[in-house]
């Protein structure tokens, strides 16, 4: 039996998630782009990024930022946490040399008509205190010891 890390009853509006700090390097950016099969040069070619795009360096791509948010949320929830929806807005780029910090706050805890437990979390990705991306995620957590959001399908899954 796999222990559930969090259940819905453990979570309350206003709770804060542990921060994640990570020093971004050129390897972080390039590895993230290649993992996402994103071959666009602004994610691996410094000269293109600076002289064509007008940015200060190569920068994290969109799918890799999504993957960082997913990792951050499921580190907190445990493996039974199931992402339903994620919306994020990039206000600035994340470059090699940046120390990015992800910090989350629980905004809402609800149970839907199908009995699925949902937590809405606002995650802020900052560098030196400047907001680079904010993400609002809706993640399902077990409502009882024997509940498993991953078994929900059709009308029982309303992300």
């Amino acid at each position: 039996m796999i222990a559930t890390k969090l259940s819905l009853a453990d979570v309350h509006a206003g709770d804060t998630l542990p921060e994640l700090a990570y020093d971004v390097t050129a390897t972080t950016v390039v590895l993230g782009a290649l993992a996402a099969r994103d071959w666009r040069p602004m994610h691996h070619d410094h000269d293109f990024a600076v002289n064509r795009n007008g940015t200060k360096d190569i920068f994290l791509n969109t799918p890799n930022q999504a993957a960082w948010f997913e990792r951050y949320l499921t580190d907190w929830s445990g493996p039974k946490g199931r992402l339903g929806r994620m919306k994020f807005r990039m206000k600035g780029s994340v470059f090699p040399g940046d120390r990015m910090v992800l910090a989350g706050t629980v905004e809402d805890v609800t149970t839907d008509e199908g009995g699925c437990g949902w937590v809405t979390v606002l995650v802020r990705l900052t560098v030196d205190g400047d907001l680079k991306t904010d993400c609002t995620a809706r993640i399902a957590l077990p409502v009882t010891d024997d509940d498993n959001p991953w078994t929900r399908r059709g009308d029982q899954w309303r992300p």
């Binding site: 993992a35 996402a36 099969r37």
Partner: protein, 171 residues
């Protein structure tokens, strides 16, 4: 500055375009690489016993949806450059905007994606703005939805991108 959307672009709004099947089935190598890229140790992706108990077998990171429809950088006998999110590049060309960035992204997750799945996608242009000027340059915002289905035609996810195509004002 143009405040209108050309009729030929307007006609594409809410129309399904570029229904495509991924060039390769979902495979675990990419799942491991994606987990490694963000140091994701979730046992669902690394421990088959955990995956069997919780997700009835291995699955991909949900946020990997777009990975499965990005074309190879090169392929034999290809005569044109293959681009992911082709509607985005069509709009750049249509409006003569050489640069573009993505600003907003919404992803809704449905059926889990599993190794061996063969995903299909379709792109739908939802909106195009009038011309706007930002710190990057002058151009237009657009919203494109990408729907993903598996080989059983089950919806696995919907991704909505907001892009900004632009021309640098100092260029």
């Amino acid at each position: 500055m143009s405040t209108t959307v050309p009729a030929d672009v307007e006609a594409l709004i809410d129309k399904v375009q570029y229904e495509e099947e991924g060039e390769f089935p979902v495979e675990r190598g990419y799942i491991y690489t994606s987990c490694a890229s963000v140091e994701n140790g979730n046992p669902l992706f690394w421990d088959d016993a955990v995956a069997a108990e919780i997700t009835n077998g291995p699955i991909a990171m949900p946020t990997m949806l777009s990975v499965w429809f990005r074309p190879h950088h090169w392929a034999p006998n290809r005569t044109h450059e293959a681009l992911p999110l082709q509607v985005h590049f069509d709009l750049k060309e249509q409006f003569g905007l050489p640069e573009a960035v993505m600003t907003d992204n919404t992803i809704v997750f449905y059926e889990p994606v599993r190794p061996g799945d063969r995903l299909k996608t379709r792109q739908i242009l939802r909106s195009v703005s009038e011309e706007k000027t930002t710190k990057l340059g002058t151009g237009r915002f657009w919203v494109i939805d990408v729907e993903y289905l598996n080989q059983r035609d089950e919806l696995v996810g919907v991704e909505s991108y907001t892009g900004f195509g632009y021309r640098r004002d100092d260029a």
